[in-house]
Every structure is written in C-alpha cells, then in structure tokens.
C-alpha cells in the first residue's frame, strides 16, 4: 500500500500557504540565493568563455607557441624559423605566423592611453574564421592601417560611432599614427579590453622595427591536410622541434588558456565562493523557515503520529515542503537571472547568457539546498512524541 500513490490532502501545500508572509520571505530567500548563483556562475563562465573568444576563431588545427608562454597575457616571442621547420612536414598544408602583443592606444577623442590587444598577420593569410575580416583584410595591405574591434571597451574612444558616421578615424598606437580601415567584432576578455588587427608589417613597425621585419613571432598557426590527425602531428612536431617552442592542438590551446584563468588565477575561486555564499544564505533561510514550521506544528505532528501516521509520512511532508519551496523559489530566481544577464551583457560586452546547462545547474543546487535544509529541520520531528500531546 505504501508504494501505491494515493491522492491525499496536500498537507505540505496547506502548511506552507497558511502563513503567506512567511512563504514570501522563504521564496525571497531562495530567489536571492538563486540570483546570486546565477550572477556569480554566469560571470565566471562568461569570463572563461571570453578568454578564448579570439582563440576559437583561429583558423588552425595545430598551434605553435613559445614554451615560456603561459597565457594570452604573457605571450612570449619565438624564432619564426620554427614555424618554417614545421611547414616541411608532409601533413602540414599551410602555416601562418602571427604577432600578438598589448600595445598602447591613445583614445582619439581624449588622448588618454590604454593597452589594447594587437594582432599582426600577413593579410594574405586567413588566420580567423571571421567573415568581416576576410572581407576587409585587403585594406591592411597598406601600411599603418588597422581593423578595430567594435566591441572594445568605450574607454578606447568613439571609434565605432565616428567610423559609421563616415569620418576618417585615426589614432596613435605606440606613438605612431594609424588609420582605422574597418570594424570587426571580437569581444572583450580578462586579458584584453579591446582588439585591433593589422598586418605583421605594420605591427613590426609599431613595435620599433623600422623596416617592418622581424624574425620573431608569438603564434604560429598550422593548417593540416584533410584527414591528418592533429594529435599525432602535434606530438611529432613537439618531438622534432627544439625545446623553445611547444606545439598544441587547437583544443589543447583553448584548454590551456581556460585552465590558466581557472587554475593559475583566483578568479574561478572567487566566483565559486560567491556562488557558495548564495547557496549557504539560501540554505539558512530555508532551514529557518522549515525549522520554525516544524516547531510551530509540533503538537499537530504529534497528533498525526497518534492517529497512525509514521515518522516517514511526516518526513515526506517536510520534503514536499522543501521541494515546493525549491520549485516556486526558482521561478523568480530564473527570471531575475535572465534580467541580470541582459544588464551585464549590455554593460560589459561579456558573452554572458542563460545557458540551459546553467539553468539546470542552479535548479539542481537550489533543489539540493532545500532538501538539505529540510533534512536538517526534520531532526526536530523526532521530538514530536505522540504521548506528550495529552
């Protein structure tokens, strides 16, 4: 009989709704916890995601970096020779050398300097899977021309507005004047508040080589012939090339960047801690509500036991209460989370979105939080001694 579902009085529901004020407090607490989790985890994921926005666009199967490079913000140069050595490999279809460094950009409106992520490459190469770049890269064949990331932070100046208004936009980069030839869309990350793309020739001039040549690069992109195994090629190249470079598959390259932000910095920890705080606050609120609910109804629970209800029946009532709280608390938390994400996206240009993964994760956490609070509150049920009701 116990295992057969029987429709019964919805006791959990009646208990919760008897005091609407208290129910609202409980839901507000859960909603707050959910919002905090959405906020913290959303930012964490968005920041990790943003850290590889441009990496993801790289048109490469295998990537060569200096063995001392640990992340996009500490990219070290290595001899371009290494990339040419790799080019002789039979599986290698094409190579593309890339320069990568933070350069000082002066806001064309105010003149205030700020570091911008500059990427230099041969305009004949397709280094990014980015349509706007393919269409506009021809313009980079002239010296001192750049493409500007329109998602760069506004502190770099009203470049997009001016450009779209048809003005000729010039700015000083490393004290050299450059012309904005066009706009691309990349997005900001931890390491970069903005991006500019230019030819490797211009890049080299900006960093002090008068003839625009350099024997060093920061990144070597390698495309493989169709059917080649990137893992095998990367392993073989690692073995063959000197120790001053490391060869990674594109996936390894993406992972190592994310791992850097996740593990070698405290960013992940801080956001996880924030989310955990939300969870704890929510758990305390739910526990308080359920506990006072149990204490308030102790004689009634004891009466139910005297009538023949088992402790398990009462435990189920508390569990149902916590599940109802979880369900009804999650809905406003989800909506608030969506709202916050929209605001954050507008304010930061970070790719912060309500993924179904995130929605489900926070729901599960709230669920677990309510169950645990319910289980803690239940300890009191044992005190409901039916012999004491008399």
């Amino acid at each position: 009989m116990r295992f057969v579902w029987r429709r019964r009085i919805p006791l959990a529901w009646c208990l919760l709704t008897r005091q609407p004020g208290r129910l609202v407090v409980a839901l507000a607490g859960i909603c707050f916890a959910g919002m905090l989790m959405f906020l913290q985890l959303g930012f964490r994921d968005a920041l990790f995601d943003a850290s590889i926005t441009i990496y993801r666009l790289f048109n490469a199967d295998v990537v060569v970096v200096s063995s001392t490079s640990s992340s996009s913000v500490s990219m070290e140069p290595f001899p371009q020779r290494r990339l040419f050595q790799a080019a002789s490999w039979p599986e290698v279809e094409s190579i593309a050398p890339v320069r990568w460094s933070l350069l000082v950009w002066k806001n064309p409106e105010t003149g205030s300097p700020r570091a911008i992520q500059a990427v230099g490459f041969d305009p004949n190469d397709d280094i990014l899977n980015l349509k706007s770049l393919t269409e506009q890269k021809k313009g980079l064949q002239l010296d001192q021309r750049v493409l500007y990331d329109r998602l760069s932070r506004p502190e770099f100046g009203p470049v997009e507005d001016w450009f779209n208004a048809g003005r000729t936009v010039t700015a000083e980069v490393q004290n050299t004047q450059v012309w904005v030839e066009g706009l691309v869309e990349l997005g900001v990350s931890f390491g970069a508040d903005g991006h500019l793309l230019t030819s490797n020739h211009t890049f080299n001039q900006l960093v002090g080589s008068s003839d625009g040549s350099s024997t060093s690069i920061e990144l070597g992109l390698i495309r493989l012939v169709p059917g080649a195994d990137p893992d095998a090629v990367a392993a073989a190249l690692n073995k063959a090339l000197p120790d001053d470079v490391q060869v990674l598959t594109k996936q390894e390259f993406l992972d190592s960047e994310q791992d850097y932000w996740r593990e070698a910095t405290s960013i992940g920890f801080i956001f996880n801690l924030g989310a955990a705080m939300g969870l704890v606050v929510g758990a305390v609120v739910v526990y308080q509500i359920l506990f006072s609910d149990v204490v308030d109804h102790l004689p009634e629970y004891a009466t139910l036991k005297a009538m023949g209800y088992s402790s398990m029946d009462l435990v189920m009532v508390i569990l149902q209460e916590s599940l109802l709280l979880a369900g009804f608390g999650y809905i406003p938390a989800f909506l608030a989370g969506k709202g916050i994400y929209g605001l954050a996206r507008g304010a930061t240009n970070l790719p912060i979105v309500m993924s179904s993964q995130m929605a489900i994760f926070v729901f599960v956490m709230i669920f677990v939080m309510c169950i645990i609070s319910g289980l803690l509150a239940m300890g009191k049920i044992r005190d409901a001694d039916p012999a004491e009701v008399f």
């Binding site: 006791l11 109804h297 005297a306 088992s310």
Partner: protein
C-alpha cells in the same frame, strides 16, 4: 491477528499485571501498579481520579503511544508488550483519539482535518474519503462549516470536529482524554452526549478519562484510579 471465534465476543482491550515507571535510576518512580482491565465492544467506560494518578499514562499505553514496559496489554488482538513500531502504527490507525485540546491542524479546513484520518483507511478513493468526512461533519451538526479553518470555529465546534476526525478511520475503540476540560459546562455536556451518540451509532467502545463529575452519568461503567491503582471494587460493580 485475532482468530475468528464466534463466541464469546473478544474484548477489545485486555490488560493484565500492567506496571509502568517514569524516570531512570534514583528518579525512577512507579506510576502504574499491577493493573487489570478489559474493555468490551460497545461499552462506554469512564476513568476518573485525581490528576497525576496515572489515568493519562494508561490511556497513552492503550493507544500504543507509549512503550509498554511490563505486563500484558492486548489491544484489538495485538500484544503491545515489545511490539514493533509497525504494530504500534496499525493499532493507532484502528483507534480514534480525542485530546483535551482539539489538536486540529490549523492549516486545514474542518473537512480536511477529518479526512486526514480517513486518508489512513485503505481502499477508498479520494472522493469517497472526502464524502465520508463531509457525512461525519453533517452527523455532528457542522454541515455548514465544512470549509472553515479551526480559527473560525468555536471551542465546542472544534472539539466536535475532533470527534468526527476520531471516527473517520472507522475505529473500534475511541480513547478520549478529558475532552470537556477546555469547554464550559453546557458545551462540555453537549460534546459528551454527542460522543456517546456517535459511539453508539458507529459501534465503537469508548474509554474516556475525565475528572468532570457532571458527565459521569453517561458511562456504562465507571473506573476509579488512585496513585496508579485501579479500584477493583468499582470495576466489578458497573453503575
């Protein structure tokens, strides 16, 4: 389970050499001394005595709400000495209990409160159980108060709902612990008469603890308890 014996009718409650203690060690104090008692079908038995004499303890033992320590206590064919929790629950479900205060669930309506007991009865659908609860409320004269919460009912009305709840599980025995104590004289009288009428209609034996002298006349049999001892003389001589 009780075996099917046509004659004589099985007593519903059979108590022999029942002793009970409270506390441990030096604090240990005997509250019930060598009790013998039987309760037969259809009887209304009143148990009275000064407060603290052990009446309520006896009632909670019969109601399977307390663990039996020593002696034999058989209720509805189940031995409660060393009984498992599941046996205790089964016995509880076959008895109706009425408390001094009504102990209705504040968050439920009158009908829902009665149905909480009916919900323990196997086999009936939700609608049948609800109808059963509504019928019981009508029987006790509260047909106009189905949807009201206890806070909207008077003390006497609440106690009547509690009677309906006690009967909703179709019990063979009703245990009542001073059901009139919280009520004024007239309401108390009405409640006890209702209890008697309902018990008769539902073929239910009643064991009621009371020290309200105004209601002793409804009893078939009167037991007196003092210092944890039943006065056998009165048990043998029904009123």
């Amino acid at each position: 389970m009780a075996t099917l014996q046509p004659t004589p009718p099985q007593p519903l409650v059979r108590i022999a050499e029942l002793n009970h203690w409270f506390g441990r060690g030096d604090q240990r104090r005997q509250v019930l001394h060598n009790l013998h008692l039987t309760l037969n079908p259809g009887e209304m038995v009143l148990l009275s005595g000064p407060s603290g004499c052990g009446k309520t303890t006896l009632l909670t033992l019969i109601g399977a709400l307390r663990t039996v320590q020593d002696g034999s206590l058989e209720v509805l064919g189940e031995q409660l000495l060393k009984a498992r929790k599941s046996v205790q629950r089964r016995v509880r479900r076959q008895m109706g209990i009425i408390f001094q205060s009504h102990n209705l669930l504040r968050c439920l309506t009158a009908t829902q409160n009665v149905q909480m007991a009916a919900d323990l009865v196997p086999g009936l659908s939700f609608d049948q159980r609800r109808q059963h609860a509504i019928d019981l409320l009508s029987e006790i004269g509260l047909e106009d108060h189905h949807g009201k919460h206890p806070s909207a009912l008077s003390g006497g009305q609440c106690q009547r709902v509690a009677i309906a709840r006690a009967l909703a599980g179709n019990p063979k025995v009703l245990l009542a612990d001073e059901p009139t104590a919280a009520l004024d004289r007239r309401t108390g009288r009405e409640v006890v008469e209702l209890l008697k009428r309902m018990a008769t209609q539902h073929h239910c034996a009643v064991l009621m603890v009371t020290h309200d002298p105004r209601i002793l006349d409804v009893a078939d049999r009167l037991l007196q308890m003092e210092d944890g001892r039943l006065s056998t003389a009165q048990e043998l001589a029904p009123l």
